[in-house]
Amino acid sequence: MSELEILVPVPATRTPAHPLAPRLAALGGRRIGWLDNRKANAAALLGGVADSLAAEGHAFARELAQKNATAPAPEGVMAHLRTCDAVVLAIAD
């Protein structure tokens, strides 16, 4: 068997840090944003999650927002979401 010494073509990584937002202790009485990217299943996924949480007895206000799937949310949408206590984003396809 003839062996070759080769260089590995895959480098080390440096993944950007994306720290999680502080967790809410409870949803009751909170304003929760739901950001839909307008792909076909986003609204269904977000609605299903919200409905499930409501069915478990969490009484929160729903703030619905939309953005298109390929661009950052416009400032108006972001300003609205900043008024929420938490935001849930669905990335659907």
Partner: protein, 357 residues
Amino acid sequence: MRVDAAALDDEFEARGWSDGLPVVAPTRARVDAMLACCDRPRDAELGTMPPRHGIVTPEILAVNAVMAGCRPAYFPVVLAAVEAMLDPAFNLFAVQATTHPCAPCVIVNGPIAAELGINGRYGAFGPGVRANATIGRAVRLVLLNVGGAAPGILDRSTQGQPAKYAYCVAENEAESPWPPLHVARGFDAATSTVTVTAAEGPHNINDHVSTDAHGILATLRGALTDMGANNAYLYGQPTIAFGPEHAAILAAGGYDRAALGRFVFEHVRLPRELWAQGGMAGMFEDRFPDAEWKPIIACPQDLLVIVVGGFGRHSCWLPTFGDTTRAVTRAIARADGTPLASVAELAGRGARPPSTS
């Protein structure tokens, strides 16, 4: 690492390190020879490549360029293409990870294209020329191995496309009636550049009969009115690569780059009765400037025009991912940014040793 020479390709395939084709073994000697055409430290960090966020250095690019079969003289083009793809405007994360089949197309302009023999004439988008094949392949191997764009894992392209193997072409500047692409994008004619655009494969535009611009433009209008292209809903910067014969007819009719952009903006439009039935209806209407007759570009300046090919009555267009990505042009340059007049300026100089040593 050490590998059994006879099992190299099996080893690379098993580790997910190849595009499926046999590779040239990236030995230290070959990688050093590649880096002889690079004036940066071999470990200089050029950024990270999404979505895997592999750290990009001249050495890792050289390893992949060796695997692709590049001659060392091609390396400055590979490096410039990678730097262009890392520009935030190109949005490589989305280009790599989308379900759309886009691939970065590398368009080379300026004297270095001729120096390296990058094909811009007959069959330029196809096989047969080492420079096109291996520069394009090197870019793909970097996207796979550094960026981590393995099909079905971090590359979510539903079907992929053949141009994901290699997608590199030179503009046929000598037979173009118009200033070349890089001049239109603000560079001197003597500066060599790469332009990257996240494109589908070339879609043919066949007009065998027209002898005036009116006929060519009618064919163009029919070809580009394509509801299945992302540009139909997402605009962006599609490229038209005119064959020299079509380009000559258009130029004789008074059409320059700006006039072609105006024509496409004004006349290549989809009526609401068509676009509203399928495609991506309901997703992007907030951005339509005219929903009744929707253009495929947001402004005339967003049409890219190049001339590619030999004799024959064919042109093609390259639909793109949409306006979430912008074409980026970079000079093929030294580390200090000075454009290279010739890759021979670097040949044999050798990459500087690691910056830490």
